[in-house]
């Protein structure tokens, strides 16, 4: 035995990154988290703080001007931001989701053009897959892209688009050959400023209220043919491959939110006195805290293992990505709900942060594939 055994622990650099992001989040993001939720406004302070520290899109490779962070480091950034504010954690998370199709399948020109502004913090990147009638069955999408000489013309409606309106760039999946179903779908980069792009009213949501979710309308949007990501007909495969990686970032968000709730509850039960002693002295409360910490740590370990697989692109990544997202989000829902329980009546009010965390946790069981879909994915890719 000795302290020089390096398996199953983070590197010094990863630990230091966590310390840094935690300090930044506590100083610059936590103070605005309640107001961002209450007013359902974009967390501009968080964006500015993240950009100032080059943390808004750490996954962008160094060769395109980015920080070149590995998947585990990216997870740590998202986790620590989520611990402070779920809405704000969608800045680094969705920047990865939106841009990963370009990183995985895009041409050199597309990478150069779109990744550099993302890395500089001048632009954010959203991901447009879902439609009003195509959610879990994403291949049933109706948005069409029709070739017109050196251009493609896009028409359709994308729904549930995170950070729509604030992002400059959008990866849009559209049908280029309706006969071929999933193999007739292609991916494109669409810019906010392209003529014919507009946005719906912000959705009125249960949680992550600070992150705008809107429809994206594509009305005869005419874009150069070189905006296609990868070859024609590969868009759906790129979209799915992207999710294998980014579901792990949702797991990161889930464990971050849960950690925020557990940390708050842990402090509260030591302060709150009933029957003449802190409620933390009661075994019923201790058992709840033990279960919360145990589940959360299990979720974290699975998420980090999955992140390492994402970085190596292991063959069992699909299973691990789905498993991490599904397990961590279910744990986050349980832990945040228990945190509200531990705070009792106070936990149920908006004067305390845990009900916000409980509301924010719920979405992690739904987006980037519902947890029911995750179980289908896992069952089809059993290790």
């Amino acid at each position: 035995m000795g302290n020089d055994f390096d398996l199953y622990r983070l590197s010094e650099e990863h630990d230091m990154l966590r310390e840094t992001v935690r300090a930044l989040a506590e100083a610059k993001i936590t103070p605005f988290a309640a107001a961002v939720d209450e007013e359902a406004r974009f967390p501009q302070e968080a964006l500015e703080a993240l950009v100032a520290a080059d943390l808004q899109a750490v996954h962008v490779p160094e060769s395109y001007g980015g920080a070149g962070a590995d998947a585990l480091a990216t997870v740590i950034v998202i986790e620590e931001v989520a611990r402070a504010c779920g809405s704000s954690s969608l800045i680094p998370a969705v920047n990865k989701l939106g841009s990963l199709p370009v990183i995985l399948s895009g041409s050199e020109e597309l990478k150069k053009k779109y990744l550099a502004p993302l890395a500089r913090g001048e632009a954010m990147f959203s991901y447009c897959l879902s439609e009003p009638d195509a959610g879990s069955d994403a291949a049933g999408m109706k948005t069409r892209a029709v070739r017109d000489g050196d251009f493609w013309v896009l028409n359709g409606v994308k729904r549930w688009i995170t950070n729509a309106g604030v992002s400059e760039y959008y990866t849009v999946m559209a049908v280029t050959d309706p006969e071929k179903r999933s193999k007739g779908i292609s991916a494109f980069v669409v810019e906010k400023s392209d003529e014919g792009v507009s946005f719906g009213a912000p959705e009125k949501k249960l949680g992550i209220k600070g992150s705008p979710t809107r429809e994206v309308y594509l009305d005869n949007v005419r874009i150069p043919a070189d905006r296609m990501i990868g070859a024609e007909g590969t868009g759906f495969a790129t979209a799915m491959k992207t999710l294998d990686h980014t579901r792990i970032t949702i797991a990161a968000q889930a464990i971050g939110i849960a950690q925020g709730a557990l940390d708050y509850a842990k402090g509260y039960v030591q302060e709150r006195k009933q029957f003449g002693k802190p409620i933390a002295d009661f075994q019923g409360v201790q058992f709840m805290l033990a279960d919360m910490a145990m589940k959360l740590e299990a979720a974290r370990q699975l998420t980090y293992a999955a992140a390492a697989k994402s970085e190596r692109v292991d063959s069992d990544l699909t299973f691990f990505g789905a498993a991490a997202k599904c397990f961590a989000s279910d744990v986050a829902m349980e832990v945040t709900t228990d945190a509200v329980q531990l705070l009792g009546g106070y936990g149920y009010t908006r004067d305390y942060p845990v009900e916000r965390m409980m509301r924010d946790a719920k979405i992690t069981q739904i987006y980037e594939g519902t947890n029911q879909v995750q179980r289908i994915v896992m069952a089809r890719n059993l290790p």
Partner: protein
Amino acid sequence: MTLRIAVCVKYVPDATGDRGFADDLTVDRDEVDGLLSELDEYAVEQALRISEESDDAEVTVITVGPDDAKDALRKALSMGADKAVHVNDDDIHGSDVIGTSAIVAKALEKTGFDLVICGMASTDGTMGVLPALLAERLNLPQVTLLSEVSVEGELVKGRRDGDAATELLEAPLPAVVSVTDQSGEARYPSFKGIMAAKKKPVEELDLDDLGIDADEVGLAGSWTQVGEVTARPPRTAGTIVTDEGDGGKQLAAFLSSQKFI
């Protein structure tokens, strides 16, 4: 010519942790996490800003401390400093600020510098006299407690905001300056900075390397001795003055008894 900026930093116990003391009345470092003194982060920040403004500059962070003090150096390197010097020797244990200043001065002479930047004080000892002691030992001008600092040619210029007046000061290089917590928020290390820090050079020096005798420093060599350490008593409930027509008089009597008025 490269502008050589040396930043003196201290590894201090986390002020939010519980403080404990060893048998020799020095801080028990095993009991509490340590970190780069917050006030020294401002000094690192100013060094980096001057370096970024300059065509050719190099920032060296210098610390005197135990093994774990390398964490403070690592943090400063992650923020962007170019290299570090760590003076570490068991015989330094327990040195007071006089002894520490002798060690830092030798380390600075050995490293070479055009400008020394210090924080306004450490967050643990809060003596705040190290910059002056260094200037004296190195026989250099000192420009302390600056809220703004810049290098223009062969001069260091700065602004000191006092209670009654603001002074604009300058001194020829080489010089020693200290900066306050009003000088500008310290940056957070970036991911790239964190990754790069591990590869940056950290020079380890002991007392022999600096030509200092062990008995000049450490507990025995210190001019000041800690006689006793007592934890601050827990806060009492305070005195509540109930106003029954004579509240003002009672309050005045209380303040007067405490010599506040």
